[in-house]
Symmetry: C2
Subunit: 418 residues, 2 copies
């Protein structure tokens, strides 16, 4: 392993041990000081960002990537406010999750503790630097940040502000470190766990990044590869509600992981409900790709291929299929879904409960838009992402999900009988 990376991991491990014991007040003081430092250093950060943008222009980076990279005074203020919002969240560390007393008098408590050292691997979005650093700090975890190389100057300027905040609160600056090298081998070393110092990897970015992390990581990963989210319009749905939910689930924002990609419509109401739903989507500017029944229901529907059912468009495109009731809808979701977020629209409570119970996704909804798949909408505050893995964190990953637990057992001399 590269000796610089090894030393970075060891510093993170030591910082994590101290940070696990930091008081709520100390962590919040650091977050507030970070926000102040960002505001105070706005000019320096914007200058650093301009250097990144100049390189990006030379490299003829795609406009959408340049937009993500660009920092403006407004966006910087958003970053500072984000840190203050994290400070305002309840401390997720030290919560007594449960407590019970055994017949022998032992008192057992399950108490939340930080996970340890978290590696964040992300694309060239400078705002993630502050978000991820702040969320890790609040949850008592040391962060090792590895952002995209196009944002290296911006990220470095932001990390300098985070370090100022840590210093003001008397916290080891190694609590938030940036990988010092743009060398891609550094990512491989993080994924291998940096010699046992990294407890968890969180990738933030597109499918290629997440796929690489999932394939190569030798430590746990919180991530979702894609969100192929469904809305099923059941035979007992209120047609107006169904149309409203479908439209919002697909079109509110098409680029988020909770946006719907496939609409399933129950054959029993397709005759009346399908055409208005398709028209509403088309009127909103959405391309509709459907099976034969859907193509027959409205002009302008393109034929859906087998591949469409497993495609995350992240765009104003939707696939629509007519299915024979909730069972066929659930079978479709089991086959093509990504265990992320799926919704049923129905007025029938029994059908709804069957769907909520059976569909094996992190989030299942009844009569609500899939776009609620979001830590803020769940009341978690800021989130670092959404996880579709089955263990530990599933769904939105906020500061609580960045903690684990230990058992504290209090006795008065108990020994275990033979």
């Amino acid at each position: 392993m590269d000796s610089e990376m090894k030393a970075l991991g060891e510093r993170a491990r030591r910082a994590a041990a101290a940070l696990a014991l930091a008081s709520t007040e100390q962590k919040n003081r650091a977050l507030a000081a970070m926000a102040s430092a960002i505001r105070r250093s706005a000019n320096a950060i914007i200058s650093a960002n301009a250097r990144d943008l100049a390189v990006a222009a030379e490299k003829q980076l795609k406009p959408s990537l340049v937009d993500r990279l660009r920092l403006t005074p407004d966006r910087l203020e958003g970053i500072a406010k984000g840190l203050e919002e994290i400070a305002a969240l309840p401390d997720p560390v030290g919560r007594v999750l449960s407590r019970w007393t055994r017949p022998n008098g032992l008192e057992i408590s399950r108490v939340s503790v930080p996970i340890g050292v978290i590696g964040i691997i992300y694309e060239s979005r400078p705002n993630v630097t502050a978000d991820a650093g702040g969320l890790c700090l609040k949850s008592g975890n040391a962060a090792i940040l590895r952002g995209g190389s196009d944002s290296v100057e911006s990220s470095r300027a932001i990390v300098a502000c985070l370090a100022e905040g840590l210093a003001e609160a008397g916290i080891d600056s190694a609590a938030i470190q940036m990988v010092p090298t743009a060398d891609r081998a550094a990512v491989g070393e993080m994924l291998a766990g940096l010699g046992g110092t990294v407890d968890l990897i969180v990738p933030r970015g597109g499918k290629n990044l997440v796929a690489r992390v999932q394939a190569d990581a030798r430590v746990p990963v919180f991530s979702h590869l894609e969100g192929i989210c469904h809305v099923f319009v059941d035979r007992d749905a209120d047609p107006a509600m169904a149309e409203k939910i479908v439209l919002n689930a697909k079109m509110r924002r098409t680029g988020v992981c909770g946006s719907a990609e496939t609409i399933l419509v129950d054959k029993a109401i397709a005759g009346t409900a399908l055409t208005p739903i398709i028209r509403a989507l088309m009127n909103a500017g959405c391309e509709v790709r459907g099976d034969a029944a859907t193509q027959a229901a409205a002009a302008g529907v393109k034929p859906a291929s087998e591949e469409d059912w497993s495609t995350e468009y992240l765009d104003a495109i939707v696939s629509v299929r007519v299915v024979d009731g909730v069972d066929e809808a659930m079978a479709h979701i089991a086959k093509y879904g990504s265990q992320h977020t799926d919704s049923i629209v129905t007025g029938n409570a029994a059908t709804a409960e069957k769907f909520l119970r059976t569909v094996d996704s992190a989030i299942v909804l009844h009569n609500a838009s899939t776009q609620f798949a979001d830590g803020g909408e769940f009341g978690f505050g800021a989130e670092i992402g959404i996880a579709t893995g089955k263990l530990h964190a599933r769904g939105p990953v906020g500061v609580e999900q960045l903690t684990t637990f230990k058992y504290q057992v209090r006795g008065h001399g108990q020994i275990r009988p033979q």
Copy 2:
């Protein structure tokens, strides 16, 4: 991938989907019927076990391994009772772990659900076949069992009884499957996740088995490699309590993972407390290996090498070291421990809380023996093992820890604003 293994994985996946929806009554009926089948088939199982024992004798297997392999009518009755005890546990599936209502009226519930398909890899202990199968069934998970090759006939006879129980309750027999081949490549395929069908691997066995599973698994693993457990006798300890706890922690059973391997004694009371502790251990038949101060405290103490501090003896051997207070004790545990179970004996509440808060182990105890590191002693009922990983399951792994959760969101037409 071997086509037989692939088919086995796919059957497990289908069985898991159905089992997730099985009622408590149905699962308990299956467990009771399994226990009856074990009792009814006692002769057949003992005959199958005799065939395993005959092969073991030919291979001149070690006596300790032969003892683990041997089934007697008493042990079979223990296996049947174990299944009935699992039936008597509360159903861990479908618990509402938390529930809250958002300002927009969305009602969010976090509900426990099975993990899915669990692969159990174990040594030649036929009783694990029934234990693991029963625990997975109760928690709604399909099990793929791969026991040691020396116990293949015994395990097959037990799995036949489990299948009878499943059939009587109308549950797909693929809910508990045994890997049909003794081919070691099958283990590799399980560790790779059987083409995405295995959600979790639980190894049950010695360090070599666990180390291989941890090194090669591409899916999550619940395990502990070793239990290097400590008892720290603080300057404010009651000497009689300390002696009693140390003796129990080390000697109650030396072969369990929660047995203490190292005793740390505060320098401030070493002058009075150390000699009686060493003598008590020696009188109980324990070999004591110590640092210079410990060697000086009693005749017969052997010198401890650097390696001793990180050795799990699993035997009547203990290492003893004199440390300068709780901080040095915690530093020793951080350096040499295995994040399993560690105990402090002290009458000083502040010192105790510092230890409980700082030591980064799955289980930390105050004034109690490390031998309480056990699912039964925690009130979890039967356990499948102890985990020292940080995520999801930490400490004893019982049926609750074999579940995960999903979010069920109930609305009445809510859409997300822009």
